[in-house]
Symmetry: C2
């Protein structure tokens, strides 16, 4: 039963992550009691992950003969969740995001530590440094879990290549993203659209879905053709996942997403949604968007006005159509794989959860 | 001949690092041409490292039977150098340092990219994001090189444990360091001194010398007693190395160190030197230090005045004495190891270079 499978996986990954943090904290408290702060910030943020990447890893692993809930599956799944949080903590710092997973973003939590203890020095700088170091610490723990899960020498090298590519690619993709935010708008809207599509592939689609699936498959000993096959499922699911994310961050319910609506707009994210709007909106509307997107002072009314433009010009519809197209491609690719029935059901359920999600 | 040994090692590590960066850049340019910036900043900074950590790794490796210039030695040495640069790039960002290895610090180089290309958005924020991502990318590459160097399944797990501990420990040590900078001065100067000593052990001494030696030894198949023995050399050498660093950053020649003199003072680093001065200086001098240390606006004359206090109160002498003590302990520990003559000579030469360095 796919629902049970995912629930069991989540519990096992959660327990593993808690144990990992507890062990690390005990070990490093000898350096100084102060470092408990790092684990106090990490724990609740880590707890609230959707375990989507662990799920895709398990789907890849099980589809090619890996045993459900084997230590390798749990460890690698935990590693992906740690990496995800590392990336989020650093992203939120760069984007000056206020909240994450319904909690204050890590750099805000460290700022609060500073304020509550009446420390000297600049609270913003302390908050930023705390988040920077927490991200580094999570990145080290992620690699440790992933490397530790490669117990089979026959598949270790190929598996390691997958997660190293994933980690490097999301980092360079993130650079492309901040670069895009800082670049003047292109004369030709198709240029911005092309860049937005490259950004979501590198920094999100491949890393959230395609690489986890490929890693699980590689760990289970899938051959290169099989790994390529499951990548063909992963890329469209990942693109749909990120396009959904872009819609949710503008049109989603903050009570459900755990992030204020409109943050992407205030941060000036050059999403496919925005790039499409610049292409489809009237010149006056496009000018309005160029002036507004990236303005940190946008009010709720400003955001509402932008929402109206994004809807009326057809950009929202365009993104929904892209999501449907990617969902169909993913469906076709899943059929192509001809997996055993329970694995196909598990993979399809995860893909649908990623694409149709509300948070 | 130890001098030749180190020269050959440096060349081999340099070539390996250049090849690694070139391969990565080619691979990730497909994400976007913009990411060439990351490699353009990394290359020259990486080139200018002293290769001290690669040297200690080689000393540990060769002392227990590893072949000089074997791919494992070169790869792991390169991994340590990448990790070192990752840590420096993030440190400089947190400390708002201006320069590094005689070049502008990474975040300043990314700020220059922003300015030269007439980008929109805040240049400081872009510079910070660039350095944050570059550090992440180097950290991923470091782990990749280190993991790739563990070719012997019999020693891989023990070796991996060493570098994972190194990476986590330096990160939590760094948190303790920024925490110390932000904490009010303690009533009892011995408390600050104790914390300063814990900071240098965790964030520098063990990571710069002890862990590289232990990693090389573990990779070569040294037994736990032997690894413990070489750690006994590494800790005092590492402490002396960091204490020398603290002295150089206040009293060193900027033309030689590649960093402005007095930066540690402006950044408010709570070094052993400063903590000792608070203990030994007169109450009036101690008050002056507490007011001055951490003031980013210190002039060269202010720095000169602090130098005079640090010298006249005996703190500088105290740190020199600590360095001598650590050098003697290291010497005794090297003798205790009873290594074959060429390995002992190589290790001793490296230890002396680390302790007596001028940059």
């Amino acid at each position: 039963v796919p629902h049970d499978s995912l629930t069991h996986l989540r519990s096992a990954v959660d327990r593993h992550l808690q144990a990992r943090l507890a062990t690390d904290q005990d070990k490093y408290l000898t350096v100084g009691q102060e470092i408990a702060d790092l684990y106090a910030v990490a724990g609740p943020l880590l707890e609230r992950g959707k375990r989507l990447r662990a799920g895709f890893l398990a789907a890849g692993w099980r589809s090619f003969g890996g045993t459900a809930l084997a230590p390798e599956e749990i460890g690698a799944g935990a590693g992906l969740e740690l990496f995800q949080l590392a990336a989020l903590v650093h992203d939120d710092l760069m984007d000056a995001s206020v909240s994450r997973r319904g909690l204050p973003a890590a750099h805000r939590q460290f700022r609060t530590v500073h304020e509550e203890r009446a420390m000297i020095s600049d609270p913003e700088a302390f908050g930023a440094a705390g988040a920077l170091l927490l991200g580094d610490l999570l990145l080290v723990a992620a690699q440790s879990e992933l490397a530790g899960a490669l117990t089979d020498p026959a598949t270790a090298a190929a598996s390691r290549a997958v997660f190293e590519e994933m980690m490097a690619e999301v980092t360079v993709g993130q650079y492309l993203d901040i670069y895009a935010q800082s670049a003047p708008w292109a004369e030709d809207p198709d240029e911005d659209l092309d860049r937005a599509e490259r950004v979501i592939r590198a920094k999100s689609a491949r890393y959230s879905v395609e690489h986890p699936l490929a890693l699980g498959a590689a760990m289970a000993g899938a051959n290169p053709t099989q790994i390529q096959g499951i990548r063909t499922v992963g890329l469209p699911v990942g693109e749909a996942f990120q396009l959904r994310d872009d819609l949710l961050s503008v049109f989603g319910d903050p009570a459900v997403t755990g992030k204020p609506a409109g943050d992407d707009l205030r941060e000036g994210k050059r999403t496919v949604l925005i790039a499409a709007a610049l292409k489809y909106a009237s010149p006056a509307e496009a000018e309005h968007l160029k002036r507004s997107v990236g303005d940190p002072a946008l009010t709720e009314a400003d955001v509402e006005e932008i929402r109206d433009i994004l809807t009326s010009c057809g950009a929202r519809r365009h993104v929904e159509d892209l999501i449907s197209d990617r969902a169909q491609r993913a469906e076709a690719a899943i059929n192509e794989l001809a997996l055993a029935a329970p694995h196909e059901t598990f993979l399809r359920a995860l893909a649908q959860a990623a694409i149709a999600r509300t948070r």
